[in-house]
């Protein structure tokens, strides 16, 4: 049984402790609470940050017990109330403290009273995976001939790697899991000039990973949080240290924070089209251009020229159309659309995590130069867009499953 040490404040009073325990149980883990002495002064002094809230002091003391190994656990779950500034500071600093002083995987979450076990499940699953597959996740080079399959809700991707290089790749919109996979596998094999029997190991990820794992007798079937993280840092050549992986999807967005390629927090959105690639697709349609051209056009426009009163896909786009009528250029309107999406991602999602640098932008939308520029403008950084950035899941799968050869 994997023991997950819980360091938290506000959970009992938000009524979500049962959900935390349910999520842990589902992935075969047990929540435990480090035992600490009543006198916290030493722990607080050692940590160097003395929060006012006693609940947060207790978290610090419990973290120290883990760092001192006076309490044994396999992984750590750090959680505090969403919108609590003091809690957020301690949560992030404890994460750093534990990553510095222990080898324990850490996952963070900021909760509300609506937090359900299902939301916590991916995090708990990632923790368990990191514990169970510690050696595998440490892999930084791909060996032999392997294939990674990423069966996402919007697209299916296949990547074939040989001796740490991509030799074949293909993507296709997902229709049915199997059909789409067969198509991308065949095309990727064609590019690599190989047969399926040449592949020594297969790794699957994404929501269709179990079906594909069974069909292709995959040696690795793993959730996307850890696989995508590894793929992104591998492609961006940022395997050591901290980073944020930002994946703005057509339907949902993911932002993952990592330390040495291992995820410790993530946030996922999917309730607002205004904060997704869909907003840009719709704008492109209204501008009468292909989405492929849209990114380049937006990159030529001025980010802050066109005023926008709404970020909504319905009302915001109406505003952009009006701007065209007022004489603004298509380039400026496209740039404003990118700014709008980036702003929404910042407002809605990135508030839930601690953005770390570099920001590695991945997924199909990372190919839209205008959007990458807008994200950079808001975060005051230049996002890294690795080559093949839309294939992170498949690359992560191919890299990790080479550990089974």
């Amino acid at each position: 049984m994997i023991k997950i040490a819980q360091l938290s404040c506000g959970n009992d009073y938000s009524g979500i402790q049962k959900e935390i325990e349910k999520a842990a149980e589902t992935v075969g883990a047990k929540i435990v609470f480090p035992d600490v002495d009543i006198d916290f002064d030493d722990a607080i002094e050692d940590f160097g940050f003395d929060p006012v809230s006693p609940g947060l002091k207790l978290m610090v003391a419990r973290a120290k017990a883990l760092a001192d190994k006076s309490f044994e656990a396999d992984a750590v779950f750090i959680a505090t109330c969403f919108r609590c500034a003091e809690g957020a500071l301690i949560r992030n600093e404890l994460r750093r403290y534990l990553q510095k002083h222990t080898k324990l995987p850490v996952v963070m979450y900021s909760f509300t009273e609506n937090t359900q076990a299902s939301v916590l499940l991916t995090r708990m699953e990632a923790l368990v995976t990191i514990v169970k597959r510690k050696d595998l996740l440490g892999r930084e080079r791909q060996v032999g001939i392997t294939m990674g399959l990423d069966s996402g809700s919007a697209t299916t991707k296949a990547v074939i790697m040989q001796d740490n290089k991509i030799v074949g790749k293909y993507w296709s919109p997902t229709t049915t899991v199997m059909e789409s996979a067969e198509k991308v596998v065949a095309e990727a094999l064609k590019e690599a000039k190989m047969d399926l029997k040449d592949i020594e190991s297969i790794g699957t990820t994404g929501y269709g990973r179990y079906i594909l794992g069974q069909h292709y007798k995959a040696k690795l079937v793993q959730e996307e949080l850890t696989v995508n993280s590894k793929g992104a840092v591998f492609l961006a050549d940022k395997q050591k240290g901290e980073a944020t992986i930002l994946d703005i999807g057509g339907m949902d967005n993911k932002a993952i924070t990592v330390m040495d390629g291992i995820p410790d927090s993530f946030t996922m959105g999917g309730i607002c089209a205004g904060a997704s690639g869909r907003f840009l697709e719709t704008t492109a349609k209204r501008l009468g251009i292909e989405i492929g051209e849209f990114g380049g056009m937006a990159a030529k426009g001025e980010l802050h020229k066109v005023p926008m009163n709404s970020y909504c896909t319905v009302f915001g786009i109406q505003g952009l159309v009006s701007a065209l009528a007022e004489g603004y250029s298509k380039e400026d309107v496209a740039a404003a659309a990118c700014r709008s999406v980036a702003e929404q991602i910042y407002q809605q999602q990135l508030q839930e995590i601690d953005v770390r640098f570099p920001v590695i932008q991945v997924g199909g939308t990372s190919l839209l130069k205008g959007l990458v520029r807008a994200v950079g403008d808001i975060l005051k950084t230049e996002p890294v867009v690795p080559q093949n950035s839309q294939f992170i899941g498949a690359v992560g799968g191919a890299l990790l499953c080479s550990g089974f050869i």
Binding site: C9, G10, N11, D12, Y13, S14, G15, Q17, K18, I38, F40, P51, V52, S53, P54, G55, L56, K57, L58, T80, C81, F82, R83, C84, E86, G87, F111, T112, E113, N114
Partner: protein, 144 residues
């Protein structure tokens, strides 16, 4: 009279209030009602999403859920209070009092009620303990 005590889970305050003939509005009363309700199942405290929403009566939606959940417990006690004893600088007030923001708001809300209130510092030596008890005794006897 019904005396709101702060910290509301303090054994010393609850004991002294009872000793000097009044009814302490202790937190256990609110938690008791929840944890012994067979209908609820949100361990360990049986605070539910609904409770946290009840907390909206005392704090805005933008206030963290942990604060609102706590206020769902403290709020009814504050509403009932006819007088209050507030002890500042209590050491290590964990559990129900683990959130500094809730504690600040709780004291503010009780002061807003304008009921007779005694504010004290946590005693650190025997002389202060004597003063502490004497002030509580005088305050409570004055309420009769």
């Amino acid at each position: 009279m019904k005396i709101f005590i702060y910290p509301p889970n303090s054994m010393i305050l609850q004991d002294l209030v009872e000793r000097f003939g009044h009814t302490p509005l202790a937190l256990a009363k609110e938690i008791d009602r929840r944890v012994n309700d067979p209908e609820l199942d949100s361990p360990p405290m049986n605070i539910t999403e609904i409770d946290v929403k009840v907390g909206l009566k005392y704090a805005a939606i933008e206030v963290p859920s942990g604060v609102r959940g706590r206020l769902a417990l403290f709020g009814p006690l504050i509403d009932e209070a006819e007088a209050a004893i507030i002890v500042n600088d209590f050491p290590s007030t964990f559990g129900c009092m683990a959130c500094a923001r809730t504690n600040e708001l709780t004291i503010y809300l009780i002061k807003q009620k304008k009921v007779p209130t005694l504010e004290l510092e946590y005693p650190t030596n025997e002389e202060e303990v004597e003063d502490f008890i004497a002030r509580i005794k005088n305050f409570l006897e004055g309420l009769k």
